[in-house]
Amino acid sequence: MILKRASRPRALISLVPMIDVMLILLVFFMVTSTYLNLDMIPALRASDGATGPAATPTDTVMIRLGADGVPVIRGRPLSGSELDSLLRSTIAADPLTQVLILPSGAASTQALISVMDKAAQADVQQLRVLRLEVQP
C-alpha cells in the first residue's frame, strides 16, 4: 500500500510585493508633493476690450508709485494704512470713482500688487494701471 501525502493547497499570489510597491509609491508622492498656495489677480479681463463701459467714472484718483514702492497721491507719500483709509473714504463718497495707478518702471511687483490689494479691499470698482511708453 502506497501512502500519498495530501497535496498542499496551492498558495495564493502573494500580496506582499504589491503592498511594498504601493507603500513606495505612497512615500514618493508624500515626499515629492509640494503644496503651493497660489491665488491670482486678473490683469486683463475679456470685458476690458469690450465697447461700452458699464459706468462712467465721476471722479478719478491717481496713485503714483515711486521706485521705492511708496504710493503718492497729489504729491503726498502715503503709508499703507493712510492709503487704505483714503481709498475707503473716497469710495464711500463716490463708489464709481476711478483709481489710476501710475507705477515707476523701477518699482517692484510687490509694490504694485500691494496697492491693487488695498484698492480691492476698499471695493474700488474701476481700477486701471497706466504705463508710460517711450515713442521710438
Binding site: 505612497l26 510687490q110 500691494s114 479691499q121
Partner: protein, 135 residues
C-alpha cells in the same frame, strides 16, 4: 471515548484593510498633487490678501527677480516670446496666460509683457499671487 474538535487555526491578521487604506492614501496624493512645470529659477509670487482661487489650465510665464523669462518651465528669450505665445494662442484662442512674477521683479520687466499679451490677442491674463506673507 471523547472526541475533541481540533482547534481552529488562529485567523491571520487581515491585510485587506491595510491595502485599502494605502490605496486611498495613494490615490489621494496622486489626485491632489498637481504636476506643474516649475521655472528654472526661483520665483516667489507677491503677497496679496484679495487674490482669487486660481483655476487650472493655461500657460505660465515666470519672471525672475532679474527679469529672466521662462514659459512653462523652459527658458525663454524675450525676443522669442511673442512668436511662441502666438503659436499657443492659435491652438487655443481662449488660452489663459498666468504671469508668475517674482515679488522683487521690476515692473519694467512685467507690465510690458501684459501689454504685449493683450496686443497678441490674449483676453485672459492673470497675475499669480500668494496669500502667504512668507512666500
Amino acid at each position: 471515548m471523547k472526541l475533541t474538535r481540533p482547534a481552529r487555526a488562529a485567523q491571520s491578521e487581515t491585510i485587506i484593510a491595510l491595502i485599502d487604506v494605502v490605496f486611498f492614501l495613494l490615490i489621494f496624493f496622486m489626485l491632489i498633487g498637481r504636476m506643474d512645470a516649475t521655472a528654472p529659477f526661483e520665483v516667489t509670487p507677491p503677497h496679496a490678501e484679495t487674490g482669487r482661487d486660481m483655476p487650472a489650465g493655461g500657460i505660465t510665464l515666470a519672471i525672475s527677480a532679474k527679469g529672466a523669462l521662462a514659459l512653462d518651465g523652459d527658458d525663454m528669450r524675450p525676443e522669442d516670446l511673442p512668436d511662441v505665445l502666438s503659436e499657443h494662442l492659435q491652438d487655443n484662442p481662449d488660452l489663459r496666460l498666468r504671469i508668475n512674477a517674482h515679488r522683487a521683479a521690476e515692473l519694467r520687466n512685467v507690465l510690458p509683457l501684459v501689454s504685449r499679451a493683450q496686443q497678441l490677442g490674449f483676453r485672459d491674463v492673470v497675475l499669480v499671487v500668494t496669500p502667504e506673507t512668507g512666500g
